[in-house]
Symmetry: C2
């Protein structure tokens, strides 16, 4: 999904410039939305406008790279969870990290997808995420740690609820998200589970509406 | 908090007209926002415009009455919970009912308070709600059913998260809210409680931002 202007390997100082630009842009987009001027991004990253435009000739190419970076981080978390020999720890860690990323995201992903619907294969990435979480769920249930009546809808339920916290101040949103996720993971445990009302029919796409 | 045009007791047919108008207006405001025309409210309630305007001479008087009606229902739920001899059942029932009302509310209360900030003593009602829930919490902890590290912030956390579900379709929002609340109440139980990260500092006022 790379959208770099050049596909040649970058020298290490160029690489570090590129990483700093993506990191700063990610923060600014999250905090101020996609309208942040390119000049402000260059200034915050401590690079000249020429360097910024050499790496990212258009705002769209930079936004797309930031999104790809986040999506890649999210996919890495899920892959690491699938590789964990302890299925409950894998499930738990994946839920914690994905929710923490979402709490820091402040609507960025939804704004990105609304603004650049062609730039990303939403359907393909949705299917991949659903497959991975289905497998994490299956293993954690088989290990007797995740309650048998947990459904994937409940993960989307948590993500929608967690998304509702993101309008708080950044610091408080992170603390609120950690506390909500800890409560929900505690309730997801098989141990001492009480009956639940039926699950709501939810989907990852519900996060974008 | 009554805002009826007349403070005389109403005859029973007038009372039933009034109740139907408030009920219909409540549904329409929740579904379509505060801009719904008075004519549409009269039509849906099956009353003539003259009857509507005799009861509620202005849109503001009707909106305020709908809000008072909802707030009264909410206060009744909390009073009933305080009167319950079983402290955990009282706590649990109050949380379930308040969250169900919030899920059906679809932003009405926040819109109302933003539109008519003078019409309601937000601070006084906030203090009263906080006092009541503090007492419900104290009793449920004393009975050994509510986890000792539960804080009132956690109730506001649940309400903010629950509010995040309200943008779904009405039917799905209700199902999602029921499931979320059941999970959270399960996690609030003292039995089998695991350590939690620190609480977020939240307040009822966070629901309005």
């Amino acid at each position: 999904m790379s959208t770099q202007a050049s596909h040649q390997p970058l020298r290490s100082d160029a690489r570090s410039n590129r990483d700093r630009i993506v990191e700063v842009a990610s923060e600014l987009f999250a905090r101020r939305g996609l309208d942040v001027p390119m000049a402000a991004i260059a200034r915050h990253a401590g690079v000249g406008a020429a360097t910024l435009y050499r790496r990212f000739p258009t705002k769209e190419s930079l936004v797309t790279e930031v999104f790809a970076d986040r999506f890649h981080a999210c996919a890495s978390v899920v892959d690491a969870a699938l590789a964990d020999p302890d299925p409950w720890r894998g499930f738990r860690t994946a839920v914690e990290r994905v929710c923490a990323m979402q709490a820091a995201d402040r609507g960025f992903s939804a704004a990105f997808i609304a603004a650049f619907p062609q730039a990303v294969d939403v359907e393909g990435q949705r299917l991949r995420a659903v497959e991975s979480f289905t497998e994490l769920t299956r293993r954690a249930k088989a290990a007797g740690r995740l309650r048998a009546d947990f459904q994937l809808d409940d993960l989307f339920l948590l993500l929608v609820a967690n998304g509702g916290l993101a309008s708080r101040s950044a610091e408080n949103a992170a603390a609120a998200s950690r506390r909500l996720v800890a409560y929900m993971l505690s309730a997801f445990r098989a141990e001492g589970a009480e009956p639940l009302p039926p699950p709501a029919r939810l989907d990852l796409l519900d996060l974008l509406t």
